[in-house]
């Protein structure tokens, strides 16, 4: 498919790109009224991109033909929540200096234009990941997602965010180099960078060792984007160093891009492999003989999933900073979702389709994750570490406050700040997977898909980990709900940005209300998770009408 034919699928991305250009110039205006237009323009772009994705073509000639509309709509939807949360993150100090007449607007000093432009760029990158039909395209889309986030982390606060940004950048470069090497090997092993071409090559000639090494390296490298073991080391430090709204962004956006990319990479060999006896009687891994990924890839993902869940959950138990707890929980959730990737599309029903489960879980995780980080972003306390380590001392009242940070700061929140306290309680329970909430709706199909695929040991690991997770999530629930406000720490005050509590309340409401629409959402994600049948596949896997779309 030529790039010209491909344009019909990427209108949402084009709309976002145009908005990015507009925002980049608007944010540099000396007039406050025009500068303030940045986030409404971003919001409009996200709404338009979502609408274009819904109205656009429903089916593409790819391994996951219906993936694009669903993926782009959830990115736009959670993107809107994140946009509300990002209000006032970068230019609070500058704007307050200008408002009080103590400084003049200096376009070289301000970061607002770049910050919102990078926000849109990053989301555009995720959408492009969903549309990728080529390895080079996929690489560029993944990097378009990540490169802006390095800068967003660095400019988000003073002090620690610089360390976080540098750490994130270098480890990100390592991850990118790893999967780029994998992509190069895939090209070397199959002779094409086109995803459907590679699929065809695998189906006709099997997977040679170079291509297999390429698949493994790609998955490992993309593990950085989803914060999976062994590429998870940056997560707690970076999430802790960045401002809470940016941490929420990091936990959803690169993760979504990574999971979309892993789905595309895993769909190259497909889920139809199993042991088959060759002519010489030796048992090998063969296409069409079973219902799992090629054994080497399955085993790698299996070990990654089990370790990611366990490391994330166990290390989260020892943390006292809420952001670090949420960072480790973000690692653990990646492990849960990898179970869905390993299971793959076992059947057409939602509960049998691991990919659909992952797609649904991404939405659920995005919503509840924004809620927990929003509570941290909405409340601040006077004094704190940022003052001592702050690069510029301005002696301003805004510089003297820091985000609330430890579990102690959350104590008694349901009484002092009821809205925030209950948001924390609801979203933490949802992250835990407490039954009537959205998180449960997301986690349940991961279990059923794993069982349907016969991955019983992995499902047991998943179950044990969900139990471990209860310890630290219940701390986040008990502190605001049951405990008294801590007398030692200074009382938390709300930040002066009304958009942030709005994001928190919307997330908390979504955790409840989206449960009512779970049927519709599951239907949509089941459709998005459908795969076309590979030529060697046996019956009972994927939609049979996909054959026509498969062979262009």
């Amino acid at each position: 498919m030529s790039i010209i034919e491909k344009v019909q699928y990427i209108w949402p991305e084009i709309a976002m790109f145009i908005a990015t250009c507009v925002v980049m110039v608007l944010g540099l205006s000396p007039s406050l009224a025009i500068r303030r237009l940045c986030s409404p323009v971003c919001g409009a772009a996200l709404v338009i991109a979502g609408l274009l994705a819904v109205m656009g073509p429903d089916t593409a000639p790819a391994a996951l033909p219906h993936l694009m509309p669903y993926a782009k709509v959830i990115v736009a939807g959670v993107g809107l929540l994140l946009l509300l949360l990002l209000a006032g993150t970068v230019d609070r100090e500058e704007e307050s200096l200008i408002a009080t007449g103590r400084a003049r607007f200096n376009p070289l000093r301000t970061n607002r234009a770049e910050f919102y432009a990078f926000f849109l760029f990053s989301l555009t990158g995720v959408m492009l990941c969903a549309s990728a039909s080529d390895l080079i395209w996929l690489f560029l889309a993944l990097e378009l997602t990540s490169l802006p986030t390095y800068i967003m982390v660095t400019v988000s606060t003073r002090g620690r965010s610089h360390e976080a940004g540098v750490k994130y950048f270098f480890l990100g470069a390592l991850g990118a180099a790893t999967f780029l090497y994998g992509f190069a090997m895939l090209y070397g092993g199959t002779g094409t960078t086109d995803l459907s071409g590679i699929r065809q090559h695998f189906a006709e000639h099997g997977i040679n060792s170079i291509a297999m090494l390429g698949l493994l390296l790609s998955v490992l490298g993309i593990g950085f984007k989803i914060a999976a073991v062994p590429m998870h080391f940056y997560t707690p430090d970076v999430y802790e160093g960045a401002a809470a709204p940016v941490s929420a962004f990091l936990a959803f956006v690169p993760k979504t891009a990574g999971f979309l990319a892993i789905m595309l990479i895993a769909s190259l060999p497909g889920w139809g492999y199993g042991p088959v006896a060759g002519a010489d009687g030796v048992i090998r891994d063969g296409l069409g003989a079973g219902a799992s990924l090629p054994e080497a890839l399955r085993l790698t993902l299996w070990v990654m999933a089990a370790l990611t869940m366990t490391v994330g959950n166990v290390l989260a138990l020892w943390q006292n900073s809420v952001k670090r707890i949420l960072a480790y929980s973000s690692i653990a959730h990646s492990g849960y979702m990898l179970v869905g990737i390993i299971a793959g599309p076992v059947g057409e029903r939602f509960i049998d389709n691991g990919l659909a489960a992952v797609l649904f879980y991404l939405l659920a995780y995005g919503v509840m994750n924004v809620g927990t980080f929003a509570v941290l972003a909405c409340l601040e306390k006077s004094g704190g570490a940022a003052l001592q380590s702050g690069a510029r001392s301005t002696g301003l009242e805004t510089g003297a406050t820091t985000e609330i940070e430890t579990v102690d700061d959350l104590r008694g929140l349901c009484r002092t700040h009821p809205a925030m306290g209950w948001t924390m309680v609801l979203c933490s329970l949802s992250l835990l997977g407490f039954p009537p909430l959205l998180g449960f709706m997301g986690k349940f199909p991961l279990f059923t898909a794993g069982i349907a695929a016969g991955e019983i040991p992995l499902v047991i690991v998943l179950g044990i980990n969900s139990a471990i997770a209860a310890f630290y999530y219940l701390r986040l629930v008990a502190a605001p709900l049951l405990e008294d406000p801590s007398p030692a720490s200074p009382p938390a005050t709300p930040t002066p940005f009304p958009a942030r509590p709005m994001a928190a309340l919307l997330s908390a409401a979504s955790v409840l209300i989206l449960v009512g629409f779970a049927g519709v959402l599951m239907k949509q994600s089941a459709k998005a998770g459908e795969t076309v049948v590979s030529p060697g596949h046996t019956a009972g896997r994927g939609a049979s009408d996909g054959v026509a779309a498969w062979n262009p």
């Binding site: 010209i4 250009c21 980049m24 110039v25 540099l28 205006s29 200096n106 376009p107 070289l108 234009a113």
Partner: protein, 125 residues
């Protein structure tokens, strides 16, 4: 199979030979004089260096350099496009697409220019 790499081997040998030969021949043929004040200068037959290399430059040159680099690279992309565009069949349907592509590319350059202008990069005061 290995024969396809023969040119690479040849290039490698030529590189090594060229480098060593240059050193050896200079040693053999060149007159060897003791070092003088001119000989030990940074540029033996160039301009006289003035001052130290650790001089401070105005920080605004950094922005100019960055902007120059960006636009320079963008303009370089026009050359391969221009040579390929001239080879297109006259009146073919591709020409509109090709023109559209480069126009889109140039539009992004304009946005970059606008951004630089609003950011105050071109302001000298």
């Amino acid at each position: 199979m290995l024969a396809t790499y023969l040119p690479v081997l040849l290039i490698l040998l030529m590189t090594i030979t060229f480098a060593t030969a240059n050193l050896v021949i200079t040693r053999l043929l060149g007159p060897s004089r003791a070092g003088g004040s001119v000989k030990s200068m940074t540029y033996e037959s160039g301009m006289n260096p003035v001052g130290t290399a650790r001089k401070r430059f105005n920080v605004r040159f950094y922005l100019i350099a960055v902007v120059f680099l960006v636009f320079d690279v963008e303009i370089i992309f026009l050359y391969p496009w221009a040579t390929t565009f001239a080879n297109l069949e006259p009146g073919s349907q591709d020409s509109a697409i090709w023109l559209g592509r480069i126009m889109f590319f140039l539009a992004t350059t304009v946005v970059a220019y606008l951004y630089g202008w609003r950011k105050g990069v071109f302001k000298f005061d």
